[in-house]
């Protein structure tokens, strides 16, 4: 592990906001499982339906939590990690001192981006893992076969698909992380980067819900956000999941490229 990556990781791991964000990723699946166990919901459609299916197998708690958390809280957490990684350091006035170390700017930025991405992935994995553990304790791990729902999988299949879903959800945050990170290199106001990431998500969601927007919707970062549902209610990974993965690559290349290009030339005045 390089010195600069290690020091960035220690700095972020010791930050109170990191504890809070990762704590949310642990607490919500735990609380939701306790609530499901204490008060099982009646069968319904949509997200509520997923929660209603959870008592059939604890593994579905992880699936339900991934679906629920990826709609906003994971986006918020990812934007928080990426959006203030550079800007917060600038706001404290410490960025100029980090940059007078004999470390090239791209290396420092790469370390900050890697740590932000690692924490966003950690939050997503925590949601799934805590969902699996809490769900397993509450309802056991078993296969499920629910008539008319399209869901019929063994425990092994479910677990493997949870792994794939977790990876897909984590990667779906890449556009938010990249934009928040890019804005973080432009401003000394941490909320600016965080707000940009969340703003991108909200605007994308709104535009995606308007059919008149036409084919532009396919390029919106949230368009394929729920494509992973086919892992449980379809025939496994499909073309939409692949499009979702590739779409994020485009956003990462553009926003991270801009971040590195800009930061390399930036006058540090904070």
């Amino acid at each position: 592990m390089t010195g600069v990556f290690r020091t960035e990781l220690i700095k972020q791991l010791r930050r109170p906001r990191t504890f809070v964000a990762l704590g949310i990723a642990v607490l919500i699946p735990t609380i939701a499982t306790i609530a499901l166990k204490a008060n099982p919901p009646a069968p319904q459609g949509g997200d509520q339906g997923l929660f209603a299916l959870a008592p059939n197998s604890g593994i579905l708690v992880a699936v339900a939590m991934l679906r629920f958390m990826s709609r906003f809280l994971l986006v918020l957490i990812a934007a928080l990690f990426a959006g203030d990684s550079v800007a917060a350091e600038a706001a404290w006035g410490n960025l100029r001192y980090v940059l007078v170390r004999p470390v090239r700017r791209p290396r420092l930025l790469g370390a900050k981006l890697s740590v932000s991405a690692l924490l966003a992935i950690t939050a997503t994995v925590l949601v799934a893992v805590i969902g699996l553990i809490a769900g397993g304790i509450a309802f056991g791990w078993s296969g499920v076969s629910v008539p008319f729902s399209g869901l019929s999988q063994s425990a092994g299949q479910l677990l493997w698909n949870v792994v794939l879903a977790t990876l897909y959800v984590a990667w779906s945050l890449a556009a938010v992380v990249s934009l928040a990170f890019f804005v973080s290199t432009l401003t000394d106001v941490p909320s600016g980067g965080v707000g940009a990431g969340i703003g991108l998500y909200i605007v994308s969601q709104i535009l995606d819900s308007i059919s008149s927007v036409g084919s532009i919707r396919y390029a919106l970062p949230t368009h394929y956000l729920d494509a992973w549902n086919v892992l449980f209610f379809g025939r496994g990974p499909n073309a939409d999941m692949l499009r979702g993965v590739l779409l994020q690559v485009g956003y990462v290349v553009v926003f991270c490229g801009l971040a590195f290009w800009r930061f390399q030339r930036k006058d540090i005045l904070s």
Binding site: G3, V4, R14, P16, W92, V100, P102, V103, L269
Partner: protein, 300 residues
């Protein structure tokens, strides 16, 4: 003549319509302590930031050890830096801040001169407290400690005594003198002209981004300056000195008088007074550099 350790030539930096630094030239030799002076907005901090690779020059260049400074240069490991007020990661302790900052450069903590740094910081047990609980003076001392961790050959310090109490300011001045005696080259900006006068061997005066004057402090002050002389008879002393060649304005300020020296030595003034049978109690230099500075930047 040895190559200068710090060399700035033709340095120009513009922020939008504002010309912050305009064709600046100066150099600092090894072991010199050079004060960078100028009113607010003169371009001092911008010049220091260019020098350590934080800000990119539009034209000209800044060199340390003969190498043009680039962000992240290996040479920066030999430079102790304090730019504007000291800043740290607020939720970490002073000790942890120093260590993480040091290790970010890919160097092991065992290689740092932690002993000197911690003794300069003088924070005692507070070094293990979170920095957000520190006073401005404590942060400033920790900032000086950070600048010294690498046993630097060059120090670039922006207002290093800002926020310190008089005793701490004196300690910093003594520290800078010791480092200079050991061959460390220092460039420091300060608003405290008396501090520059006491510590610096050389000074560079800037105004509106331009170099106004530069050179050894004694040369900048020149034979001029003002002295306050406490005498036995103010009226007669005033009359005597007004006739003396090389004396500028003479202002009675009982129990003495302020005498502007314009090419005459203090000893000659004292001799003239004694020769006129006027008792001389004390002779004190008064704001020499301040007078020179205000004269150079045209301020009242």
């Amino acid at each position: 003549m040895a190559d200068p350790v710090i060399a700035v030539s033709g340095l120009t930096k513009r922020f939008g319509p504002v010309l912050a630094v305009d064709d600046l030239d100066f150099s600092v030799g090894q072991g010199d302590v050079c004060g960078l002076l100028g009113p607010n907005g003169a371009g001092k901090t911008t010049s220091l930031r260019v020098l350590v690779g934080l800000v990119f020059a539009d034209a000209g260049e800044a060199r340390i050890f003969g190498h043009r400074v680039q962000p992240g240069d290996a040479d920066l490991a030999r430079v102790g830096i304090m730019v504007e007020e000291s800043a740290f990661v607020p939720y970490l302790s002073g000790a942890k801040n120093l260590r993480l900052w040091w290790e970010a450069g890919g160097t092991r903590w065992a290689e740092a001169d932690a002993e000197t740094a911690l003794s300069v910081a003088g924070l005692g047990d507070a070094i293990n407290r979170k920095v957000k609980t520190y006073s401005q003076g404590m942060k400033q001392r920790l900032g000086l400690a950070r600048a010294l961790l690498s046993r630097p050959d060059v120090l670039v310090l922006d207002e290093p005594t800002s926020g310190l109490d008089p005793g701490e300011m004196r300690e910093v001045r003594q520290l800078l003198r010791r480092l200079s005696d050991g061959g460390v080259t220092t460039l420091l900006s300060s608003h405290l002209l008396s501090e520059v006068e006491q510590v610096c061997t050389h000074a560079v005066v800037m105004d509106k981004g331009k170099l106004v004057a530069g050179g050894p402090v004694q040369e900048l002050i020149g034979a001029g300056g003002t002295v306050y002389i406490e005498v036995s008879n103010v009226r007669r002393a005033t009359s005597t000195l007004k006739k003396l060649k090389g004396v500028g304005r003479v202002t009675p300020e009982p129990p003495g008088l302020a005498v502007e020296l314009d090419g005459i030595k203090r000893s000659e003034v004292v001799a003239a007074l004694v020769h006129a049978n006027i008792g001389v109690e004390t002779v004190t230099a008064r704001h020499q550099l301040e007078d020179a500075f205000l004269g150079l930047v045209g301020e009242e």
